[in-house]
Amino acid sequence: MIDLTRVAKSFGENHVLRDVNLTIDKGSSMVIIGGSGTGKSVLLKSILGLVTPDSGTITLDGQDVTKADRDAFLARFGMLFQGAALFDSLPVWQNVAFRLLRGSLKKPRDEARAIAIDKLRRVGLKSNVADRFPAELSGGMQKRVGLARAIAAEPEIIFFDEPTTGLDPIMAGVINELIREIVTEMGATAMTITHDMTSVRAIADRVAMLHDGVIQWSGPVSQLDDSGDPYVDQFISGRAEGPIEAVR
């Protein structure tokens, strides 16, 4: 279980997170929604330790993440980045098997390659992609490779940062389905940040809306349309009028 209590983070005068309280249950799929620039990525990076919160506590299974053994902590996570963040200098299979080729999870090279190809197949890519470089792949294929890398070491927790941004609707649907299937079959805890409502409905067990530095609303995805929260209603209906100020 991931628990955030009174988490705050500012960049200069910009108070991105003011007082975030959120619990993500083990094995559940939590989707954080919110407008651009509301601090969704900062929240996710705070959990991973890529950004240090100014105040508040973040615990994983009751242990403060800032006091956990860093390697062991990160070994429990997989992450799909918004732009896939594949390493340009490495072929696809070495990107996927990155964690299996070094560090505490190191495996023999042949075994790591076999796992990488297996994971590539799992995300719908053929084995002939393995020796190509990321720059030779389309945006959708790069996302799939990023997804394969995120699951290569079979992590307990997977983070997805805007998984469908920049993809056409069909490819976005494919990625959403893959995420849902993989999270279910691995029994992983998932946290996704997105403002794509199709993704939300495809991926989420629970939804939390981040606005103005706080969790404005959270609840099961089944209650999203009847949340009774004006912020959520405006966001999911995409209206310019409402409590959320639209910059024109």
Binding site: G49, R70, A75, M79, A85, D88, R102
Partner: protein, 260 residues
């Protein structure tokens, strides 16, 4: 108050400069500590050695040969003013080995390697590849910075040695080809005049310049701002800083080796 404002501006600039010096020093110490501590990334070191060393050979060789050749012509024509044309071999040798070889190789490395390291790492930063490394339990200082700095320390002295030899050969080719020097006498004069300290100083300078060039590329890359403009600024800043530091270090090392 208006009269005091220049002092305030000077004070702020000094403090900002000191802050940068502190950050760079801390970065350098962290990088060097990672060079010495496992895990070591052999493949990354190999690639850095190839990129900084082997692939820089053409530009280093061409720079050295033309500089050596031009130096021979200058010394010959300058020496003719007081009947000292015969000192061409000695001055080419000492000029290349003590000064021009290390400095020109250092500046070429700053132009070719520092810029490429800074651009590569800055691009990795803006495309979240550095964050991805961290989430994959890999320390970017160890994986990206340490191999490049170590490669700079190892391979640039070798490049300087190659540059020295090629530069001397450039002078030899011009002197024997068009200035009428005897080839055997030219080589003998060169070898007789050079001392061990000249060669050691050249290699030490190469080591220092290689470390500085790689370090500046890594520092500016890791400190890059967002977007294409951030990458551009990081690249430009890294080359400027590396070039100035190389020239300053050259002055200090020349003083340390040769001041009486």
């Amino acid at each position: 108050m208006i009269l005091l404002s220049p002092f305030g501006a000077l004070g702020r600039a000094t403090l900002a400069l000191m802050a940068v010096v502190g950050r760079v020093a801390l970065f350098a110490l962290t990088a060097l500590s990672h060079v010495l501590r496992p895990p070591f990334y052999g493949r990354e070191l190999g690639l850095a050695l190839l990129n900084i060393g082997w692939l820089s050979l053409p530009v280093v060789g061409l720079t050295a040969i033309f500089t050596g050749a031009a130096l021979a012509l200058q010394i010959y024509s300058g020496g003719a003013r007081f009947n000292a044309e015969a000192v061409v071999p000695q001055i080419v040798a000492i000029g290349m080995v003590r000064e021009l070889g290390p400095v020109l190789v250092g500046l070429m490395i700053a132009a070719r390697v520092t810029s490429s390291i800074a651009a590569e790492i800055a691009t990795m930063k803006v495309t979240e590849q550095i964050d991805a490394l961290v989430t994959l339990s890999t320390d970017p200082m160890k994986y990206l910075v340490a191999p490049r700095v170590l490669a700079g320390l190892i391979v640039v002295p070798l490049l300087v040695a190659v540059g020295d030899v090629i530069g001397i050969f450039g002078g030899y080719a011009v002197a024997t080809g068009s200035l009428g020097f005897n080839p055997a006498a030219y080589l003998k004069n060169t070898m007789d005049f050079l001392e061990l300290l000249d060669v050691i100083s050249s290699l030490v300078k190469g080591c220092a310049f290689g470390g500085l060039a790689a370090l500046m590329g890594c520092y500016f890359g890791m400190a890059s701002g967002r977007g294409a403009q951030g990458v551009g600024r990081a690249t430009k800043g890294s080359v400027e800083a590396a070039a100035v530091l190389i020239l300053a270090a050259n002055f200090l090392l020349t003083g340390a080796f040769f001041s009486l």
